[in-house]
Amino acid sequence: MQPKVNILFIEDERNILAFVTKLLYGHNYKVTTAATGTEGLQLINSICPDLILLDLGLPDMDGQTIIQQVREWSDCPIIVISARTNEREKVKALDLGADDYITKPFGSAELLARIRTSLRHSNRMNTSSDQLFRPYKCGDLVLDFEKRTLTICGKIVHLTPIEYKILVFLAQNCGKVMTYSSIINNVWGPYADDNNRILRVNMTNIRRKIEINPADPKYIFTEVGVGYRMSEEH
């Protein structure tokens, strides 16, 4: 039997802790819980979990501190749990190195999907880089990294080099939200202007090219105030 994936859940609300623990047990994950940041950090150091679920509002320390400390020595995926109205907090957590976030209150299906996505990404990093060159497929859309082409229903869609770069970055991180600044750093380089208008103009043009109805997208979703998320492959 395959060894169970070990998830550490750091959260101070007892009811949420109980419900998530039951849910994850039910889906064959091993769950360890911590109610405070200090306890969480100790557990991270001692058990080296495969994934960390982190609530940002902890009684004894700021969740951001935990992300920073973990990132000093580990690439273990971190999913942040945060309130919806706090965009700045989410962006900060993601830019500090969190892999994804989920907004409170969340449904169980959504949480499980996020966990699967993050685990898959971390596995991909650890195993082969081959998969990174496998074409990205989602519905009618195929992005071929080798031929550097984008096709929808078999028809080639013309993209500018910048648009192609943005799409590749989002597709390689599909399912996860990418902040404006991480996309800008990746596409324009670390010395690019921090203003995200140019990125958003490009995104609008991409949407015009790939979405049938840009206001009701199928491939690229906006997380307003945070960044963009490309749909999972299917």
């Binding site: 958003r200 206001a215 009701d216 979703f221 906006t222 105030g225």
Partner: protein, 362 residues
């Protein structure tokens, strides 16, 4: 305070200096009529009384004027002589004029101050009563689903063993519906606190792309109502306008939810965004039974009058009053009306001039 004193003194001295200088010019070049000279000083005194605070400056200037006139402009020149016949009357007259002007202007100032204060109090009181009304409406609306949740859970806990699986499922679904409704209401209320955070009732605006905000609102609504279909039209141009995206999303969600739930029709509602020279208009149309014309004038006030109506618009009032608050805070405009076959809600958001020019890229 010190600066004010300084300013007042400077103002008084300058005006008296100008008056004296003019008086000298007049006296030496035009005529040696002391009455005209006195008039010049009176004008200076009235101005001083009007534009300084307190009696002190007015009094000082009137005494100064009297002495000046006596010293410079009456015989014997450059000497004080208060015994000339008729002059005491002039001097006393000047003193009285100054005192009266000062008294009137200072009373005027005090009155405007009091008026401003009263207006502020009235405004605060109005806000307080608005808040109280909202709180009352909210608590009333929250109590209903909470009662149902508590009742359902306790019956599940106590009679769980005698209920069939189908019955249990139905009860659990009721709980889910009620709690997701509660959640939406709480999101609404939280969004209002985002406005009240700032004293000026203004929101924190950042330039946002209209279609991104619209698409996120539609996505979030579809998460709650997976079977819902909504027809969305946005202009092809790149539209970026300043707004608090979370709040505008909330408005869109509230309006679309009303169109889905309360229209009494299964026809997909329509959301249309149109671009205008100085604003962007968002229009939500449903194809149901429309609004009761009697309700339209008060529809955004947060109070639902239609208690007798069969269709209990659970929470619709609060949602709409929150929409109005949000749009007002964006200096926009919102209205509700009926079109030929259903209800129509329209709101506008102003474009910011400086944001507008570089982004109208076609």
């Amino acid at each position: 305070m010190n600066k004010l004193l300084h300013n007042n003194t400077l103002f008084t001295l300058t005006l008296l200096g100008i008056a004296t200088a003019l008086a000298f010019l007049f006296f030496s070049f035009v005529s040696e009529n002391t009455a005209n000279i006195a008039l010049l000083y009176i004008i200076a005194q009235i101005l001083i009384a009007r534009y300084t605070n307190g009696y002190l400056y007015g009094l000082f200037s009137s005494v100064f004027s009297v002495i000046c006139i006596n010293f410079f402009f009456t015989y014997p020149f450059f000497r004080l002589n208060f015994t000339l016949s008729g002059y005491p009357v002039t001097f006393i007259g000047m003193l009285i004029i100054t005192l009266l002007t000062t008294a009137t202007t200072s009373r005027l100032k005090k009155q405007t101050e009091i008026l401003a204060k009263q207006e502020k109090q009235v405004q605060i009181a109005r806000q307080e009563s608005l808040r109280a009304n909202l709180l009352r409406a909210v608590s009333h609306d929250l109590r209903t689903p909470l009662t149902s949740i508590i009742g359902t859970t306790s019956s599940l806990l106590s009679d769980g063993s005698i209920l069939s699986d189908a019955e249990k499922k139905e009860l659990l679904e009721n709980i889910e519906n009620d709690s997701s409704w509660l959640l939406n209401m709480v999101e609404n209320l939280l969004s209002v606190t985002r406005i009240n955070d700032t004293v000026t009732h203004q929101v924190n605006k950042t330039p946002e792309i209209v279609e991104e905000v619209v698409s996120e609102a539609v996505q979030r609504l579809k998460k709650r109502f997976p079977s819902a279909s909504i027809v969305v039209h946005v202009p092809d141009d790149f539209l970026m306008i300043p707004m608090d995206a979370i709040l505008i999303e909330q408005v869109l969600i509230n309006l679309l939810e009303n169109a889905l739930i309360h229209s009494g029709s299964s026809h997909a509602p329509e959301l249309t965004v149109t671009d205008h020279p100085d604003h962007v208009a968002f229009c939500v149309k449903d194809f149901g039974h429309g609004l009761n014309p009697d309700d339209i004038p008060d529809i955004f006030s947060g109070i639902c009058h239609n208690t007798g109506s069969v269709d209990s618009h659970k929470g619709m009032g609060i949602g709409l009053s929150i929409c109005k608050t949000i749009i007002d805070a964006h200096s926009g405009y919102i209205e509700a009306k009926n079109h030929t076959n259903g209800a129509l809600f329209l709101f506008t958001l102003p474009k910011d001039e400086e944001e507008n020019i570089p982004c109208s890229q076609k």
